[in-house]
Subunit: 354 residues, 2 copies
Amino acid sequence: MKKIESSSFFIGKQGKGIISFGSGQPDLPPPKEVFSVLSKKQRTFKYGLIQGEERLRDLLAKEYMGADAHNFVICNGASEALDLIFRVLSGVSKRRKVLMPRPYYYSYPFMVKFAGLTPVCTDLKDGRIDLYDFEKKARGCAAVLINSPSNPTGRVEDIETLKQIERITQKLGIYLISDEVYKDLIYERENYVPKGKQVITVNSFSKTFGMCGLRVGYLYSPDKNLVQKTIEMKVHTSMNTNTLAQEMAVAALLAPKSYIEKQKEIWKKRRDFIYAGLKNLELDLWKPEGAFYVFPKMKNPSKVVSDLFYKYKVIVYDGAWFGSPDRIRLSYALDIQKIKEGLRRIGKYLKTNG
Amino acid sequence: MKKIESSSFFIGKQGKGIISFGSGQPDLPPPKEVFSVLSKKQRTFKYGLIQGEERLRDLLAKEYMGADAHNFVICNGASEALDLIFRVLSGVSKRRKVLMPRPYYYSYPFMVKFAGLTPVCTDLKDGRIDLYDFEKKARGCAAVLINSPSNPTGRVEDIETLKQIERITQKLGIYLISDEVYKDLIYERENYVPKGKQVITVNSFSKTFGMCGLRVGYLYSPDKNLVQKTIEMKVHTSMNTNTLAQEMAVAALLAPKSYIEKQKEIWKKRRDFIYAGLKNLELDLWKPEGAFYVFPKMKNPSKVVSDLFYKYKVIVYDGAWFGSPDRIRLSYALDIQKIKEGLRRIGKYLKTNG
């Protein structure tokens, strides 16, 4: 009989005839009023497995070649998955730097610093990773972090670039963290996702399935030791991810794939509309290839963001928050009528202040 | 017009006529299959406020004298609230130590270390805080962490002790983190919760309302600057807490208070039953005054935990996990029949191995 090392061993342990004086959770149901949002009126909400519900991980495993349920940790969104993995890497790696392309998703440098690591940037060339600079700076890093399709650029890296990044990180023996929360929203070509023992994939149900507020994301890694270390951290820092939201994530995965295809058509129409509209305003921008952001160049973006909000009731984000102080970011997660009205107001503003 | 410093300013910003190209969240509904668990069949799940839903914070504010909704952050359980606050304190405080009574909840030393701080222990005397040792060791700490009623001891500190701890921490100018997740489960007397500018209160819906798996907890602090710093960390590390679970937490707070009273009666019966049962087995233990744990002395607890699980299908926790290597912890969150059967098996084991 093996010594049982910690209480994590017992969390979620069930079986015929087992009597548990273990986990400290009430067996009593919540007030009946709590069920008003649910279709089923009586149930308990016990702790779930820290790693995530098995059904959900089984379904995810089907999407990754050679994976099984043990390769996943279900998290409070991609955010927690990234936060946990940086904290785990900070503990296991002697190297202290993490490389990321700039512009970056605004939380990346914060997360890296919160974990006691140092962010290092490689500047995109015309919205694409510059492999020469990337490889040079990747040396000596604990990990590199990529995000294709990218928030905020809307760019998708070429398949060949992604394969090169696979090779570079494998050769250097460093982790490749691939944030793929927009992988189902690519307009221009089939997707390619990096693979390999050194790859840590982060994804979420937020964008693909419109479930942002429910906070279900996950990390996938072929390295079960790393997965285990992540679970050992999560048991102390947040325990299981909301179990009800995980049931809803299961339902989302089992929904017909046509759901995603229909979404993509809508996003593409919006993309075409806003891109044409901003071009009409003579802004300099990339045509989004994925995700749902446009990232036009702009003089004095800080003032533009403030003016547009206070005087025109239009919200746009300052490129500086993403490491790009000469641009603004617009999310086009809006119906076409609203995009049209928003563009009208921006046009009016630019005319007055241009 | 003030410069807008970061995108956090815009999260959840709504209002008549505002067009938001800001937040990157789909406006499209999730697959209809997702709604099978819900009573309402169509809705969106947008990002919520990082700080938590206003309705929930308003209701909580009524429970804390002088508080308003700005004093709270809703988190993924008390675990995340504690994890965040240690990470925030690690950033703002020059002092690197955190004092906690031993035995402690098993995650405490991990959380403190994960945040780059050092746990320091004051050993309980017969299950109570030794104020002399406590005050001596509190000097030079960034914070002290208490948990009354306590997991794993089931003890409740005297009101006078809690008031002394208030005074000591105020005098020393250090934070008093009070983990009060069992505050509604006290069998022996009225509750007392520490108050003051230096107090950071952590609580959860898990234990009081049987909502462990839904992961809703919160922190309350009179120091709005500290609350703000916590929000600024959470926006990057996990974003909002599951919004649906927050709706359910609102419903729980609005349920008749008799729910809590009825629960307490059930817990008290179980407490009396298991306490008498373990006394009958001639074990040395404290009578629980709160929470739902008994913590009897035991020789070779590691072997007992393993034997009981593998040979008798009974789960108990090793006291060593709580910093007490001469005890085992039993949670009595079980109906009396199961407690009875569990005690029978433990009795049989002790007879054979005693």
